[in-house]
Amino acid sequence: MEDGAIGKKEHMSTKLAPAASRGTSVRASRPLMGWRTVDLLTVAFLGAAFGIAYWGWDIGYQGPTTAISQGFPPLAGLLVGPWFIAGVVGGLVIRRPGAALLCEVIAALVSMLPGTQWGFGTLLAGIFQGVGAEIAFAILGYGFFGLGAAVLAGVLSAPIEIVYEWFAYYADWSFGWKLAYLAITMVSGAVLAGGLGWLLTRALARAGALNALPPGQEVRERHSV
């Protein structure tokens, strides 16, 4: 019985730690770096799906961007936020170190394969944005995954990427424009990646697509009260 037991009521009753109290989030199971297969595959499949969406946005964003940045080109940053959403959602869903980075990088990789206007820069951008989102979740100790955490991850996805863009694409811009571009992109990241990513994660959990993961457990706990 001892070796063969696959479950004992005392310690096998749950894989996920329960939410400690109001305001905190359900954390990933311990150890935090103990990635389960479903964690890895969820990140990979999410990343791939976002990659396809990114590819669509690569084409779709061109027109609106040209329209809004007519007078003041740094306004183009307003529509950069959607490219940060994979990192935000990857972090919110899996809640393990590296999830945000991995999700964003896979999304970038998938969107790069059919051909984009940035070529290999797409993958670099994925790494820069993913590291930014990852830093946000690390600052919070992988313990908070509410709207605030999502917004922070969206905001921090911007800086490394934008500094890279200063050199790669906007070398001729004035420093004031560059700073404005950074600030505008951070706002865009907060709303279009942070806010939207948080809503999307909640919607996926409610759709029953995250049953094996912490957001799924949060939905169940809210309903069982």
Partner: protein, 764 residues
């Protein structure tokens, strides 16, 4: 009542084998979070080595759950309270990875690799088998299941039945002692199903495996099994013994629970309240839709940039008449689903014509493919094979009402019909539930209710009875026949003989004769390079662009890149010239050119309207992008995984998971298309006149694609863990990751433009 198995005598050629595969289950209880009652409660079961068990029970009795518990993968994709114990030969199921083989219901859901050889080797890789020892075991496993095609055959080119045999081979490669089959033939046509059963019978006999099969339809498996275990609705064992004894003593009782017991005739379709549907639009037996000489071709894009065209439907004639039901049968691959889509106006035909009866014409137009979403919804209903991704509403009732509301029917009347339909289909108590939380069988019935609630003149249903027990089968057929009797034309694709027997007419499709495959074209030089050099060469373009000082220098950099790119696309050797190389590069370059123009424009605006500044900025972007447009499409997902893990030593499990996801990317497009079709035929499709509907459609499609891909991830996690992936920290690899001369040449070549840029910096 457990029958002791006949002791197996060892053959003379082999040393005596210690019989393995004894299964012990005691006190097994499983309650997923969010459910009040456990699915399995205090279940006990003992299987001696070599026993073949047929596990049966009504829908929702926990058969699949028990199989997952036996495989030790219950908590892979779900969380809940688990108690009790499961042992295989006295040890926990995952003590030896691969000791328990698991084959899932949906063909292809466990595929991890692009080729069949590599897919079978997956478990061997996870358990650290040396590469040299793999080919023999892979060949043996493929031989055992009768897959005799070359080992580099693409996995997506297999039929459903072949994919199930591939899954079996993947399990056999790990030499399991216990084999678990979760409705392995439920989604297959009769020919494929028989082939899978034969294969299972031979493999199990040869290897003396303990086997547990879950099936809804017992008939074909009764001879195979030597024990039958019946689970009740509460997840407890209610009958257990030799199949013939259980069937003789409890057969009628099992039939009452909805189980398909051999020897009992198919149930009578249930009857709906009379007058539920009004009189139809067409007179009896008038041709509602007419397909004349319809041909539908399917094009698959190849990595080389060309396409390969196959025929899905070839010169088919078909008439669906009002007040009649028509069964569309034939082996998988014969184009049943494609023809159904063509009839629904959801897929353009390449030749021939699909026309509705003049009375059904909308604004004088008789081709449904030309109608807008509301006109289509009023007349045509389509029930897809995959009903989960086509859900459009937040509650079951709203789902049924969606089309009636879209086309503007009287709310009260429509709601009355919705209630009656849900009642008959056993979904009335779920009216306010979220349809996405329903089981697969419930979702299929819901899709039927949602399709017919507004009484379309034409119902087209794809495999509407798959996975239904006798009771729900009778309900589904009752709905179909009620609509037919009200004067609608009904076309059902089916593998189900009982459905065929109920239909007024049967049309059998044959697999279209395919045009001969064109000879393999010559490969361009760039195709000889591995993924790492392709990525490195694409990356080298970034410093080349960023560092080149003036527009003149950048122009030279771009010129060098163009020359090198042309060289990379040269295809020496014999065989036909590859087509579409240049077109592919140009297509991939279009977004880059737009980006370059937009950057040039913003620089011109800022840089004092100086054309040189603008040209420099635009050319810089072009220099960054151009090499990627030539190189990146030649990266292969499996090879990328091999190289990242073996050459760059990245952690194996994330790399394998990523490669598996890349492998599935092409299926996401299919999901997207299917959801778009479902929305169009339900009257909710995007309309060019309204930007709001376009946004709603984009949101719904994105969400649907995400949900489906996450479900696929969860299923794949179960299949991969059943093949030892959860502990695959020290993996071996089926394929090496060589660095060839071509890779070095490519990297050196890609440094040339960078050299030009640096030289220009030094000189200018």
């Amino acid at each position: 009542m457990t029958r002791t198995p006949v002791p197996v005598a060892a053959t003379e050629a082999e040393p005596p084998v210690v019989a393995t595969g004894a299964v012990g289950v005691s006190g097994l209880t499983w309650r997923p979070y969010g459910r009040r009652d456990p699915i399995l409660s205090d279940l006990g079961l003992a299987l001696p080595p070599g026993q073949r068990v047929l596990l049966v029970g009504p829908s929702g009795s926990g058969k699949s759950t028990l199989l997952r518990a036996l495989a030790g993968v219950l908590e892979v994709a779900e969380s809940g309270e688990l108690a009790g114990s499961v042992t295989i030969d006295g040890e926990a199921p995952h003590t030896r990875p691969g000791a328990v083989g698991l084959v899932l219901q949906e063909p292809g859901s466990g595929v991890v690799a692009a080729t069949i050889g590599r897919d079978v080797a997956f478990g061997l890789e996870n358990t650290g088998v040396p590469r040299a020892a793999m080919p023999a075991r892979v060949t043996a496993a493929l031989g055992a299941v009768g897959l005799t095609m070359p080992e580099d055959t693409p996995t997506h080119a297999l039929s459903g039945g072949e994919q199930q045999r591939l899954a079996l081979a993947g399990a056999l490669a790990l030499e399991p002692t216990l084999l678990l089959l979760d409705e392995p033939t439920a989604m297959l046509d009769p020919g494929n199903a028989a082939a899978v059963r034969t294969c299972v019978g031979e493999v199990v006999a040869a290897r003396r495996l303990t086997t547990v099969v879950v099936e809804h339809r017992l008939g074909p498996w009764v001879d195979f099994a030597d024990r039958m275990v019946v689970l009740g609705r509460d997840g407890r064992v209610v009958a257990d013994g030799a199949p013939e004894v259980v069937l003789a003593e409890r057969g009628a009782e099992l039939v009452d629970q909805g189980i398909w017991v051999p020897g009992f005739p198919a149930p009578e379709p249930a009857s709906l309240p009379p007058g539920l549907f009004g009189p139809g639009t067409l007179g009896a037996n008038e041709v509602a839709v007419d397909a004349a000489d319809v041909t539908v071709a399917r094009s698959v894009r190849l990595v080389s940039g060309g396409t390969r065209t196959t025929l899905a439907v070839d010169g088919q004639w078909l008439q669906a008449r009002a007040g009649q039901s028509l069964a569309l049968v034939g082996p998988s691959g014969s184009g049943k689903s494609t023809l159904l889509l063509a009839l629904a106006g959801l897929l353009p035909v390449d030749d021939g014509v699909v026309r509705v009866h003049p009375t059904l014409a909308r604004h004088g137009e008789r081709h449904p493919a030309e109608w807008d979403t509301l006109d289509l919804a009023r007349t045509v209903a389509w029930v897809p094979q995959w009903s989960s991704s086509t859900i459009v509403a937040g509650t079951v009732l709203d789902e049924v009402m969606a089309t009636s509301r879209a086309v503007g029917l009287v709310e009260a009347e429509a709601e009355g019909r919705a209630h009656a339909l849900l009642d008959l289909l056993g979904l009335r108590h779920l009216e306010q539930a979220d349809p996405r939380h329903l089981s697969g069988g419930e979702q299929r019935r819901l899709a039927m209710a949602a399709a017919v609630a507004h009484q379309p003149a034409l119902l087209l249903a794809d495999e509407a009875t798959v996975g239904q027990d006798r009771l729900t089968w009778a309900a589904v057929m009752g709905v179909v026949e009620a609509l037919r009797d009200a004067g609608s034309a009904v076309v059902l694709t089916t593998h189900d003989e009982a459905v065929e027997a109920r239909c007024d007419r049967v049309v059998t499709l044959e697999r279209p004769v395919q045009p001969p495959a064109p000879p393999t074209p010559r490969r361009p030089l760039v195709a000889r390079c591995g993924p790492l050099s392709l990525l490195a060469a694409s990356a080298a373009a970034i410093p080349a662009g960023v560092l080149s000082p003036r527009w003149t220098a950048t122009l030279v950099v771009v010129a060098v890149q163009v020359l090198l790119g042309a060289l990379a696309l040269v295809s020496p050797g014999d065989g036909p010239q590859p087509r579409g190389r240049l077109r592919g590069v140009v297509t991939r370059l279009v977004p880059g050119v737009i980006g370059a123009l937009s950057v040039a424009w913003s620089s011109w605006l800022l840089g004092g309207r100086d054309l040189e500044v603008a040209a420099g900025a635009g050319l810089r972007v072009l220099a960054i992008v151009l090499p990627s447009a030539v190189l990146i499409s030649h990266i292969d997902a499996d090879a990328l995984g091999d190289h990242l893990a073996q050459r760059l030593r990245l952690p194996a499990r994330p790399v394998v998971a990523t490669a598996a996801a890349l492998q599935r990317v092409h299926t996401f497009g299919d999901v997207w298309t299917e959801i778009a079709r479902a929305r169009r035929v339900r009257g909710l499709g995007a309309s060019r006149r309204s930007p709001r509907t376009v946004l709603a459609e984009l949101g719904a499609l994105t969400m649907g694609m995400l949900v489906r891909s996450l479900q696929a991830a969860a299923t794949l996690a179960v299949a991969m863990d059943a093949r030892g992936f959860s502990t695959a920290y020290r993996r071996t690899w089926w394929a090496p990751a060589p660095w060839r001369v071509a890779d070095s040449v490519l990297v050196v070549g890609s440094l040339l433009p960078l050299g030009v840029a640096l030289l220009a910096r030094a000189v200018l």
